[in-house]
Structure formats: structure tokens, C-alpha cells
Amino acid sequence: MKHNFSDFTQAETGRAQPKTLYELNNMLRRGIRDLFPENLWVQAEIAECKENASGHCYLELVEKQEDSDYLRARAKAVIWSNVWIFLREAFTQQTGSQLQAGQKILILVKPDFHELYGLSLVVLDIDPAYTVGEWALRRRAVLSRLEQEGVLELNKELDWPRLPQRLAVISSPTAAGLEDFRHQLQHNSGGFVIYTCLFPALMQGAQAESSILEALDRVLEHQELFDLVVLIRGGGATVDLSCFDGYELASALAQFPLPLLSGIGHERDRSVADMVAHTSVKTPTAAAELILSCLEQEDRKIEDMAASLLDMGQEAISAGVRQLQFYKERIVQLSSVQKNRGQLQIQKIESELRWAARERLQQRRHCLDAAVQTIGLLSPQILARQLQRLDVLKLKLEAYSPELQLKRGFSITLHQGRILRSAEGLPPGSLLETRLEDGRVFSKTIQKQT
């Protein structure tokens, strides 16, 4: 049996004439317009955000179930370019971030249904304060989770290095802030040596969190080479920092075994990464300054100690010199006392000697006097006796004198001026001198008899 289309529709009698799709959609359009005579505020999360060539912004909005990623609702939204120009500016200014996936937003919308494009929420306004508050809430949730897990303060509890010289730097290699940071450290006025090793990572966008986690893993492999991990991001204030608020990254940072210095650069609130880091500063420049100030402090300390030691050494030397001087003076003093004592002793001895000598002299003088007296008494007698003896001696002597011999009739014969005692050796014809009492006779020998 053959049925044509009209037969079929005919068979379904009693039903209204079917509508075309356009008619249906048109009805929906009108219905929705009637249903929402006024614009309304809606909370939603951005799943996707795209700006097309004409400058319109297309959003994919979702609502997830609490504590899971299951979607409860989904809708398209559009911000027409004439509105978008102003909203984008206001939003970036107030949140420090661009509109992007993952953000929760509060928007004023007018639900609209288009026959061809379906349901779409036309966005008329955005409340940036909601997003900021939402971030704060999310951050608070991450922080309280870390706290419950007991890891929130772990990195802060690590000892800050005395000499933060060996730095593992996690940053984007193309960031201007990184170059400034390195330059600042390398050309420091204190002449400090600082080593930096870059572990490249994406510092913004959806991939940032996992990219930083990978970099952290690499640092961990060479952990013993580093004193400090520095997380820096250079660039404008308009970049989204929500990647630094994620739980995974915060947890890894908090539990990292090396102390962390973050210089992520934030205009308003501190990110979770900042909060778990050992120390956080606002910019890469500030991070470099902090590191240098640590080294300067150590340098000062060393130089102070060197100065103290020098002082002590000098003090010790001058104390030694003073002591030597004291000894010297003491010795001089003692020796002069000794000298005086010696002199006194000498004087004493001297005077004793003098006294003894005088005494002895006196004694001698007495003896002498006695002797003289005795001599005085005895001398005339002695003299007479001596004179007598002398007379006797004189007589004896005279008895031996040649004159007396000659007077007695003896003579003395001389040959060549000498007394002739022997005839021997006297040649004949020798001239002889004979001395007699009253003169001399000269003769020649004629004969010799012996």
C-alpha cells in the first residue's frame, strides 16, 4: 500500500498545522523577549572567551557542580564590540586581568534568541568586583586547604640562606623583568658573586601552572646546587595572575625543600604563590635588591669582625708594648736602687777601709814613734860603737891598700897597662912598667927565668 505525505498528514487528523523551524524559533524568540522584560544579573564561569575580527567578544559560559567539574548549565554569550571596548578596559583596570577562561563573572545580560544562532546572552555590563571577590574566595579556599594539610607554612619555616648566591630562577626566558633581574645582580656595586640558573617556564595563561610545576621538578633534581629559588615574572600589570592561585602549584611551592623568593609582580592582592613562598616581593627588581641586601649585610658583618679583630690585635700589641715599657722602667728603677745600694755598700766599705787604714796607720805611727824614741835614746851609744867599728874596718882596709904595700917596699909590675902576674908568655924585649912608692920605672926584659 502506497501512502503519500498528504495521506500521512491526513491520517493524523485533529492536530494543528505543523510549524516550520523558523516559525518555532521565532516563537521562542518572542517568548524569551516577553519572559525577560528586564535585563538581569547572572553569575557564571567563563569556559571560553574569543574576540573575533570585528571586535565582538564571544563567551562560552558554564556552571559547574560544586566540588566537581560536572557541568550543570551552559550558555553562549556575546559582548558586542561597541560595549566590549568599554567593558574590557574597565575590567582589566579593576581586576588586573583580562577576561579569560576559568574566571567567574557577574554579568548583566539580556537573554536573546535568534532563529539561526539560538540562545545567546547579550552582555551589557560586567561587575569586576565580583571577579576580584571570587578570586579572593578561591584563594582563601586554597589557603585553608593547605593549612588543613599542614603545608601552608612549610616553606616559610626553612632557613633563609645566609648567602643567597646560587639562585635557581624560574621565569619566562623572554621576560624583560628577567634581564633586569640578572643585570642588577651581575653589576652590583658590592662586587658580590651571584650565580643564576634559569629554569624556563610559562608565567601566564592556562599552561603556566603545569609549566612552573615542571620547572620546579627540574630544580629539585639539582637541589644541592642552589641556595634559593626565585620565581619572577616581568611585564605589565594587565596580565592575569590567576595561575599563581592554583592549589597544585601552591602546594608544590609550599613543600619545596629550598626557600622560595617570589617576585611575581602584582598590583593588588598577593597571589597564593606569594603567600606560601618564604618571602615575597612585588617586582623582580625588588627581589634582586633583597638578595643584594643580604649579601651586603654579610659583607658588613665580616668587615666589622675583621675590624674588631684588628682592634683587638692592636690593643694586644699596645698592651704588650705597655707591659714591656713597664718592665723596662721597673728594671731601670731596680737597677738604680741596686746601684745606690751598691754605692752605699762601696761607700761603707770605703769608709771602713779608710777607718781601718787610719787605725793601722795610727798604730804604725805609734810604733814608729816608739821606735824613734828608742832610737833617739839609743843612738849616741850606737853611733859611738859604730864609729869604733868603722875605725877598725878602716885600719883593716888600709892594711890591704897598694900604697901601703908600696910603702913597705913592694912594687907592682905592669905590662901593657895590666898587672904582670906571670913570666910565662912574656917575650924578650917587652916593655915593662914598674910602680914604686915614689914613681914609675920603665924597662925592657933581657932574660926570662922560670
Binding site: 645566609r162 648567602l163 648566591q165 646560587r166 658590592g190 662586587g191 658580590f192 658573586v193 650565580y195 643564576t196 640558573c197 634559569l198 639539582h222 646546587l225 649579601l295 654579610e298 659583607d299 658583618k301 665580616i302 669582625m305 675583621a306 674588631s308 679583630l309 683587638m312 690585635g313 694586644a316 704588650g320
Partner: protein, 66 residues
């Protein structure tokens, strides 16, 4: 020179030498010995701050290029 294990240890030893010298009247020999050691330690610390460790520099460069 007896090389200290770390900067931290060197500083601690220096501090204890200073403390000893401040609190005790060291004799000349003791003083000389302590000052000599302190001078070595200060030299070590200064070197740490100011002298480039070429080996470490090379390691870091290699790590970066990996």
C-alpha cells in the same frame, strides 16, 4: 689552611673567636694563634662573597643549556 666546611661554620667560628678574645685575657701566644685563624676565616668568607667559582659557573651554564 684548615678549610671550613661552609660559610655558616666559618662565621660561627669567627664569632666564637671574637667572643673568646672579648671575654678572656688571652696571652700573646694564644692571641697570635686565634688572630691567625680568624684572619684565615675572614679570608675564606671574603672569597665566598667576592671570588667567582668558575666550576659552579660552568655547571650552571650547562644546566641552562640542557
Amino acid at each position: 689552611m684548615k678549610s671550613p666546611i661552609s660559610y655558616q661554620k666559618a662565621i660561627e667560628e669567627l664569632e666564637s673567636i671574637l667572643q673568646f678574645l672579648e671575654q678572656n685575657e688571652a696571652d700573646v701566644d694564644q692571641m697570635t694563634q686565634k688572630l691567625k685563624r680568624a684572619t684565615e676565616l675572614i679570608g675564606f668568607c671574603r672569597e665566598k662573597l667576592h671570588k667567582t667559582d668558575l666550576e659552579l659557573q660552568a655547571i650552571f651554564k650547562e644546566l641552562e643549556e640542557k
